[in-house]
Symmetry: C2
Subunit: 288 residues, 2 copies
């Protein structure tokens, strides 16, 4: 499945958290940055790359809506592995300003990173304006290119190294248990099966309810509950038709080839659900 | 409940979508802009204002995580009304550049607004860089203050009017059914009950499951299902402790004072759930 010609898209730029996760799993010369999540997924769907690595969920911020929605609405692809990576946020300044970082005039980062450091920023820099930027890495680049401005970026240690910045304060994220899940996506329903996997497999199912009648979701969950199929996650996302219309993303702790799972899928279809299965995959921890 | 001295916080700046929704419900001289959602909610919690209006969910983007999480983790307040407002996005340029908007060099807006116009931007301006900004209104201000740059903002028509911009293309959002829900928040468990309400009341309940055993969520939903209490929404949000730990936000189409709802709440507690009820409230449509 992975050989010398394999091409792997990831949500760039280089030194992004997605890059760090992908680099922990694949050789870095196979990796190609793409500017947005839809670009990564379209590149897999139309065959320009073999695999794509995209973020799906963070412990603090929750799901990445664009990934979930694009997987449901726009492309027909499969999940072949899940990567879990610890996220550590650093306050980065230009080395010229290393002595006066306590007087920074602005902070730049991705909105998720700003949110992950919300309390730190609120108590430490309550008067300092926060600016949303397209990525943590791009914010680090901005700081590197403007040494005359006493500004800071929030990004990872790899970005500090890449852009020659000083870590003024380390690990400034509010919650210690800050992890992000990434999906490795393919056109084919296969799986990456290595000895370093940390679980026995999980299946992602996306479905819409048969109708908006009372208890429809309860009925759907009954399909899994009486079979003792445990769910590690259930989440609703808007169908983009009207407020109150949702699809559900369900992660089941089971293999799609197990008889119980096959029975559950058949029963969901019989109930009138539309079901999209994204395959069974294993989880890997990647260094950060 | 609302008199001549009432002070109402809203997620600013002026001309934000939250401002438009709040202005449809309350006299504009009572309204005070606050820079962030936590600022709005803290202002209610500590008594600096009587009410706050904050966004909770958009048809396309889904829930506003910061609002849900802050209501669960940080403050003890109640929902006293829900406002539903149609969202229409416009491409705005400086009047000096009205003839050459097809050659714009950059687009600025809030990440949600950029996402809501994702396909329009992808097909119409695929080579043009997109810049995240703190709000649609702040992006409009940036365009107004830089007439020498051929740049555009995505914002509402009210922002065009406030900052003297030209609407180059109107209604550029990808999906027609684009609405946002806003909560009106108070320290007291009361409700705004006017003849213009469009529903018979809804109750928001936030809860954690008794334990991570198989079928716990199914058991919780059974509490509502056998009583024929219909849910208009269920959503999981990370507990910020570890990946896989969630709290659930459930909207029940019932009044918290009904015997069936009281019974359901008692049964949830008996099951070992921790339950936080944010009160019963009515929905109002506000012009956009």
């Amino acid at each position: 499945m992975i050989d010398s010609t394999t091409k792997i898209a990831y949500l760039g730029p280089e030194a992004s958290f997605t890059y760090l996760a992908a680099k922990g799993m694949f050789e870095s010369e196979k990796l190609q940055p793409f500017p947005t999540i839809p670009d990564c997924l379209e590149a897999v769907a139309d065959g320009r790359v073999d695999l794509a690595v995209v973020p799906i969920e963070n412990t603090l911020e929750g799901s990445v809506p664009l990934t979930l929605d694009y997987l449901f609405h726009e492309v027909n692809v499969y999940i072949v592995a899940e990567l879990v990576s610890k996220i550590q946020q650093q306050l980065l300044v230009h080395p010229n300003n290393a002595n006066k970082w306590e007087q920074i005039e602005a902070v730049y980062s991705h909105p998720h990173a700003l949110a992950q450091c919300h309390k730190y920023l609120y108590y430490r820099f309550s008067q300092v304006p926060l600016h949303s930027y397209t990525s943590t890495s791009a914010a680090a680049k901005l700081v590197a290119e403007n040494p005359e401005r006493n500004i800071a970026a929030i990004a990872n240690a790899s970005a500090a190294q890449k852009y020659g910045l000083t870590i003024a304060q380390s690990n400034i994220h509010d919650f210690h248990f800050n992890h992000t899940r990434f999906f490795v996506i393919s056109r084919e329903n296969v799986r990456i099966d290595k000895s370093t996997k940390v679980d026995t497999g999980k299946t992602t199912v996306m479905l819409t309810l048969p109708s908006d009648r009372s208890g429809a979701l309860h009925q759907v969950l009954s399909v899994f509950a009486w079979r003792q199929l445990n769910l590690s996650k259930i989440e609703s996302r808007p169908l983009k038709t009207a407020l109150g219309d949702y699809f559900f993303n369900i992660d089941v702790l089971a293999d799609e080839n197990e008889p119980m799972m096959k029975g559950a899928m058949e029963e969901l279809a019989a109930l009138g659900c539309t079901v999209k299965t994204l395959g069974t995959y294993y989880t890997y921890e990647t260094p950060s």
